[in-house]
Structures are given as C-alpha cells and as structure tokens.
C-alpha cells in the first residue's frame, strides 16, 4: 500500500465506482485509508447518485458529505422498514379475511348438506307412497294391500307434484353444494398464495444481507413441503370432477382438500 502515493489511491477510489459500503469498509481499514476515503467529493458523488430526489440540506456548507449521506441513508432505511411492516400487516389481515371466508363457506356447505339429506329422506318417503299406489292397481295378498292402502291414505299431499318439487330441490341442493365446494377450493388457493407471499416477505425483506446458506436452506425445505401439498391437491381435484355425487358426506371432501390425504375410491 505504501507503494502508491495518495493521489493514486484517490484515483482508485474515484474510478472504482465504489458503493457506500466499499468506502466505509476502506475507511475502517487504517488511518490513511480513512482519510482518503472520507473525502467530500467521493461522498457528494454518492449523495447525488443514491439520493438524487432528496432536497438539498439547508446548512450543507457546515456538514460533510459523508455525514449527510449517513443521515439520508438512515432516514431512507427507517422508511423502508416501516413500509415493510405495514405490508406485512396488510398481508396478515388479508389472510385472516381468507380464513373467515373459508369458515363461512364451510358453514353454508354444512347447511346445504343437511338440507340435502332431509330432502333425500322426503324423496324416498314419497317414492314409497308412489310405489304403494301403483301396486294397489295390481292384485296382491290382503296383508300387503292393507299396508299399502295405509301408506297412500296417510299421505295428504298430491304425490306426483310433490315428488317433482322434491327432485328439483335435490338438484338445486347439489348445485349449491358444488358451487360452494368450488368457492371453497378457490378461496383455499387464494389463502395458500397469500401465505406463500407472507413467507417470502418475511424471509427476503428489503435487503438480502442474510448469508445465502441459512436463508435458502429454510426456503427450499418450505418450498419442498408446498410442492408435496400441491401434488396431492391435484389428485384431489381429479377425484372431485368425477364423482362427488356419489359422496354421501361432502364434509369428508373438505378434509381431503385441506390435509392432502390420499383417498381410495
């Protein structure tokens, strides 16, 4: 280092296109470098390139460029931290909203399922009545005939029209359930996305100073978990499109989606 005179070191620092980090690093090494790297022209150049839009400091004559830079740097950094915190909070409340919607859909699904069951029971009763009234047209043993007459007489409502209405209702219920299930899936997807975004916001904040090893290791293990879940929910959606009509309990389907379990048909 003693080989080069001051003026050449100055040239190195100027030409180098050093960042504030480099200049600071150099100033910490030794007294001579501190003197050389603290020079005003180097820092005023940095000031104009890094903080071009900031209004000039009122009493700039008495303040060194380096200290001014430090001031602006810290102000800027604090702003960024605050903005990041706000973004995190927004994301978290978004997630809470998604969860709320999911709970809402779940309860509506439960309601519709209950309705569907009740309708099915009604339907099967009316089927019985119709069967009985048809059977009365045919000769049957007296015991059976008697029972059938009882069934028909007990039913006060016109069978055919009621049957038709119930079948319509059942179809409607099923449609509703299918719609709700899709809505659930969509909302779940949105939730997943928001959660991923939150994670990445937490692990890669404003500046990536974190050493590559630890940060990335955590990220890759998390992304592996996510990949596994995604693979299984794909299987889930295939299953869904074919046969939820066969399912007697749609609630099972919900569990299936959320925990990514394998299901044998």
């Amino acid at each position: 280092m003693s080989v080069l005179p001051d003026e050449l070191w100055r040239r190195v620092f100027e030409i180098g296109g050093f960042s504030y980090k480099d200049l600071c690093c150099v100033s910490i090494t030794c007294r001579r470098f501190r003197r050389l790297s603290d020079e005003d022209h180097l820092w005023s150049h940095l000031l104009s390139s890094d903080f071009p839009l900031v209004a000039p400091h009122p009493s700039s004559s008495s303040v060194t460029s380096k200290s001014l830079y430090k001031l602006r740097f810290e102000r800027d950094r604090d702003k960024k931290i605050a903005a990041h915190q706000r973004a995190l909070l927004r994301k978290e409340s978004q997630i809470i909203e998604h969860l709320r919607k999911l709970r809402d859909i779940e309860s509506r699904l439960a309601q519709e399922t209950h309705k569907m069951r009740a309708t099915r029971v009604d339907l099967s009763n009316f089927h019985q009545v119709r069967q009985a009234s048809l059977a009365l047209n045919v000769w049957q043993p007296e015991i059976i005939r008697g029972r059938q007459k009882q069934i028909v007489e007990q039913c006060v409502v016109p069978t055919e029209s009621r049957l038709h209405a119930l079948e319509m209702e059942l179809r409607l219920c099923k449609q509703q359930i299918s719609g709700l299930e899709k809505a659930y899936k969509d909302e779940k997807q949105r939730l997943g996305l928001a959660e991923e975004e939150l994670q990445s916001m937490r692990y890669h904040p404003l500046r990536d100073h974190r050493p590559l090893s630890s940060g990335d290791a955590q990220c890759t293990s998390k992304s592996k978990k996510l990949k596994r879940c995604k693979g299984q929910s794909f299987a889930c959606s295939c299953f869904q499109s074919h046969s939820f009509l066969l399912l007697s309990s749609p609630v099972k389907l919900l569990f299936f989606c959320s925990f990514g379990l394998n299901f044998d048909i």
Partner: protein, 184 residues
C-alpha cells in the same frame, strides 16, 4: 551490463521484402532500472507520454537511449504489451470484446503487489488509459470485500486506537446493519 532484449514489439529482419516495410518504422530505445534495453516501435513509444515528451520537446535524435530509472524490466514488458494492443485496436472498428478479453488476461496472473507497482509505473510513464485501467483493476479487488480482506490484500495494519475505531465505525452508515434482526 546492458543486455539487449528485443521484445514482441520490434524485431527487424534483414532479409526479404518485409524488411523494407519494417525498416520504415523508426525505433526508440529505452533502458530500464535493471539495465534491460528495449527497442520500441515509434508508434507504440509515442503512446507513452514521458517518452514522447523526452524526444519531441527538444527534438532529441532517436539514436539516444532514454533512461527510465524508475521502471523495472518486467514492468516495461507489460506496458509495451498493453500499448501495442491499444495501438492495434485503435484501427479496429469494433474491438470492444477483444479489448475486454485482453484486459482480463493482462491482469490475470498479476499479484496485488505487482498490480500496485505497475499502477505506479503507468503513472510515472504517463500512459493515461493504462493508468485508468489499472486503477479500475485495483478497485475491483477492493469492491464488495470485507475489512479484514482488504487489510490483508494491501498488507495494511489496523492503526486505530480503540476510541478512534469506535468513532470510525459510528461514521459508517452500514456499521449497524443486519437489518434482518430489526425486522424479526
């Protein structure tokens, strides 16, 4: 005492038609601190301002051997190498890639100590573009490195006392970095 070293810049052939072409190019002779003598092509020699001034200012004849007491033989070799390339690329329209490749090779095997010595020489010889390039090369070695690395690189001792050291660190905007800690 003096050994003649013809480097790649200037080999005269006495036979064949090419000799005539080469003879037209005048030669300038310099002697470095360790006694080595170099024959430079005129156009290359004129890239080196100190040489140019020496011969042109007082119209000194090219017969004179110019002494360069502050320059070592190996440094002269390097300087000539760079200037020759520079002259060659001057006539090319699109020599950017070639120049970059050449520059990379040029500094490849240079130790930091040699790099600094060469920078000094380029300054003494007044070859501006070489000086700029070498300063850039030195700065590349410093950029994005940490304090200990830089100290070791230039063989520098930490000559701060504790008080001063704390002061310097406080002045550095990034001294309290590790933002990640703040955010968690």
């Amino acid at each position: 005492m003096s050994t003649s070293t013809d480097n790649n810049a200037s080999i005269t052939q006495e036979s064949g038609p090419s000799a005539a072409v080469q003879d037209i190019q005048k030669k300038i002779v310099v002697r470095t601190a360790d006694g080595e003598v170099f024959n430079l092509k005129e156009e290359v020699a004129m890239e080196i301002d100190i040489i140019k001034t020496f011969f042109q200012e007082d119209s000194i004849s090219y017969e004179t051997v110019m002494p360069l007491p502050n320059v070592e033989g190996w440094e002269m070799v390097k300087v000539i190498e760079y200037c020759t390339k520079h002259v060659e690329l001057k006539h090319k329209v699109d020599g950017y890639k070639e120049r970059k490749a050449f520059q990379a090779l040029f500094v490849q095997n240079l130790s930091t100590k040699s790099l600094l010595a060469l920078t000094n020489t380029a300054n003494y010889l007044e070859v501006k573009y070489l000086l700029d390039f070498l300063c850039q090369a030195v700065s590349e070695q410093i950029k994005n490195k940490d304090v200990d690395y830089v100290r070791e690189l230039f063989g520098v001792e930490n000559d701060f006392n504790d008080e001063e050291y704390e002061q310097v660190k406080a002045e550095a905007p990034w001294a309290h970095e590790n933002l990640n800690n703040d955010l968690h």
